[in-house]
Symmetry: C2
């Protein structure tokens, strides 16, 4: 082949890809997909279904983790059994063996344009049946509750009543940004310990009656997850919560609860409103800073106190969703959740056919939920979040509604390590939403890489810079790794049209 | 005064001081001192005596700390009472107010030769009645137990039986160094969790039947006490234990238990011998390191595990004293111990006349014990150890015996801060042993400052360099501060001969 021809082919391939991205972007019609179906050969695993995928209540969540894990995984059958004797030379290997993946850098070869994926996405888009989005049933809470928004409705009402089955807020709705600006400055009138979590959280009430969940800063931005800490002993990071909300929005999910950063004056805005058990935990540290530690199951003691400088404290403010009495939620155990035990693996870590089991169980048999798991895996992998044990949905939207992306305090912990096991739902089920793939391809090939987009988005937060730069760089590297997983799926799939799927979302 | 005269006087002062040091060094005869006496006006404070100075058993030591503190100090009368509302501007001040002292650097003025102290020490030495040291009753354990050393006695027996009333080992005895070299390499045959302490310790048994207490490394040398941590939440440092032993020896006390550093192979030397509850706490961390956390009241969980690299672990090995069945010990509550509570002060922190109370109570009424408290204060101040809550003595030596310097894991935590409150026994009682002062003056004026002497001494340890350089530099700075305290005492004393005291030690 002559040089001229080669150049011509390259240019054409590039044009095809660009065209495809533009088409996907502009597309308002969506398609009835040929979805992943329950394999004909599958048997129903009742025990599995009961143990793994049952809904659980929010309470006693953590307590049930180990017990359930011990029942399911045969790796170490009994808590009292000692670990297998480690061979001194094999220690590093033993770590890698336990689901850990080595750091993967950008390859030295020229950047991959993933034009094959772009073509496949285009094909998936063309194949699917065009359905006008306006025919898609996507009610919002206001409609279902019979409550209408008025011009003088509060920002809180506007946000709450506009939450729809498919997303927490619409792409073009300015309410969320307005609400976040409000939360960043609104007068605080009441605080209380948030019960039920493992690490310290405060329930904040504002003068206008709105509520937010406060997670305090513990460490500077550049402190990473301690190298010998597990995902379940990692400290929560307030800035990870903020960054995760922005990342979820940039990826087009809009399923993460809106979160904003704010510096509070601990004396006037926390101590002044603290009462009872919480009040008793305030003290002045040897360095002259105001500190408190609250009450919770992990890290709530004098040795792990939250301290101001001397009484100024950063934190994340997560906007409260509508009260559970108004819009009750369902809590689902995540099928790919980890063992939450330092010597055990979850079943999905040892069973290559795990996805088949999942696909036999409601609500993963049909509908959107398996695609949602893949989306969540992409979001979590990009930020390195291994702590996705449960998720929630609004009951009134039924089972075919979007999951809510909650609790990302353990994301953005290790900037130089890519935890490929987080991608298990994508890798094992080999399905991804067309819109998600398009979004990833756009960041990969477009003028603004994901890192730049997130940096820009986060610059609006009061705590900017929210993320340590290496975490931003990691996003672009990991995005390429997600695309490689999709390519791998396409190559091994008997029917590639089952890999890239467009559903009604 | 002319320049010539000034120079002459300076030279003479220097000569006087040098002579005095030489005299003290060479002196083998000791003096019957005019000791601090119970003030005639003193009343007997039974309640005080009972609460503060009673002997306590080793067990439930920590548990009793807060309770006793709450009973004694009226600063905050009830645990449930909230702290006083901190004023935002006054926070730093509030910290300083709670016994904290600001960093004190070496003054810009020319170095102080402390020739006045040297003169006072010389005078104290001349005033005292000369008694031949051989007439001084200083039995060793072997004598009291009726056990004689033989040529083939083990190093353990040689060390144990040579422990005398005045010191754990003699200055010229080579046994301790031999024993430490042995402990640094002797085969380990058994390990067990050491009960009763707050932080993780292992009881190590060697092939020859000897025992040591193992404290593992947690952090690199340069990590200091976390700024918002109290003395009672500070992590223990294995290297502080080692350095404290060397420092105690350099100061001529020889009351600290011999300690040596050693790198253990966790797999072959710990894991292989671990059993029961201890064994269950071993695991491989996400970074592929072998870890364990043991069981104890603080920092014994997965989040605070001790981890090797990948299974090599540094630790301090503290030589066991003779078993309590052979040589029982008495545990004394330290009169100047702190409150061990984040919002309370001990009585000595608020009562300027506290020493008078102490001097009314046995064994501080007469004998050596008050001088021992001053010595301990000097040792602790030099290394910044605020965690001196109890001390022990061998029962068979009676009450006029040397206290044992134990448990220095919380020394050497803050290299740039000098905690003057540690000197309270010296400051409030204004007594110091002549030999201690001479030792301090020698390091201050001699060719080798204390930092150099300790650096040199520690270079023999297998874990050399044991201390981060700033901790060594701090020693010289703090030594000057001790001498200033003594000068302050001499200046305000009605009878300076009661300040610098030579006793039978």
């Amino acid at each position: 082949m002559k040089l001229k021809e080669r150049v011509l082919i390259s240019v054409m391939a590039g044009l095809v890809m660009l065209t495809m991205i533009v088409v996907l972007e502009a597309e308002t019609s969506l398609t009835a997909p040929s979805r992943t179906r329950t394999p004909a050969h599958a048997r129903v695993h009742y025990a599995f279904r009961q143990r793994h995928l049952q809904k659980t209540s929010n309470a006693s969540r953590e307590a049930s983790l180990s017990a359930a894990a011990s029942a399911q995984v045969g790796v170490v059958s009994d808590d009292s059994a000692p670990p297998p004797p480690p061979a001194p030379g094999a220690l590093a290997g033993a770590g890698a063996d336990s689901g850990r993946e080595k750091r993967t850098g950008t390859p030295a070869t020229p950047p991959d344009s993933f034009s094959d994926l772009a073509e496949a996405a285009l094909k998936a888009s063309n194949n699917s049946k065009v359905v006008r989005r306006r025919n898609h049933w996507n009610p919002c809470l206001g409609e279902l509750l019979g409550l209408e928004l008025r011009d003088n409705s509060t920002l809180w009402d506007k946000f709450h009543l506009s939450i729809s089955r498919d997303e927490l807020y619409a792409a073009e709705d300015p309410t969320v940004d307005r609400l976040l600006r409000h939360v960043a400055t609104a007068p605080i009138t009441h605080i209380a310990l948030k019960e039920g979590g493992t690490q310290l959280k405060l329930l904040i009430e504002f003068a206008d009656g709105g509520h937010a969940l406060f997670k305090p800063m513990r460490f500077p931005r550049e402190q990473q997850t301690l190298k010998n800490h597990f995902y379940f002993t990692d400290f929560e990071r307030h800035n990870a919560e903020i960054a995760a909300f922005h990342l979820d929005r940039l990826l087009g999910f809009r399923r993460a609860v809106p979160i904003v950063g704010r510096v509070v004056n601990m004396t006037r805005e926390l101590y002044a409103f603290a009462q009872g058990e919480l009040l008793k935990t305030f003290f002045i540290s040897p360095d002259g800073n105001l500190c408190f530690h609250g009450k919770c199951s992990y890290y709530c003691d004098t040795a792990h106190a939250i301290c101001g400088n001397p009484d100024l404290l950063e934190g994340s403010f997560s906007v409260y969703l509508p009260g559970k009495e108004v819009a009750p939620r369902r809590v689902w155990r995540h099928p790919w959740r980890r063992s939450y035990h330092k010597r055990r693996k979850a079943q999905w870590e040892v069973d290559g056919d795990y996805c088949q089991l999942v696909q036999e169980v409601h609500p993963y048999t049909d509908g959107r939920r398996l695609l949602d798991m893949a989306d969540m895996a992409v979001l979590d992998f990009l930020m390195g979040n291994m702590d996705r044990h449960h998720y929630e949905t609004f009951k009134m939207f039924g089972n075919n509604s979007a999951p809510i992306h909650l609790d990302h305090g353990r994301g953005f912990g290790r900037a130089f390590h890519d935890e490929l096991s987080i991608l298990a739902p994508l890798r094992q089920c080999c399905v991804i939403r067309l819109s998600t793939l398009a979004s990833l391809l756009r960041y990969h090939s477009g003028p603004a890489p994901l890192s730049a987009a997130l940096r820009s988005s986060l610059s609006a937060d009061p705590l900017s810079p929210v993320l340590w730069e290496p975490h931003l760089h990691a996003l672009d590297r990991r995005l390429g790794l997600v695309l490689r997983e999709v390519r791998h799926c396409l190559r091994k799939a008997r029917d590639p049209s089952r890999v890239i799927v467009e559903d009604f979302h």
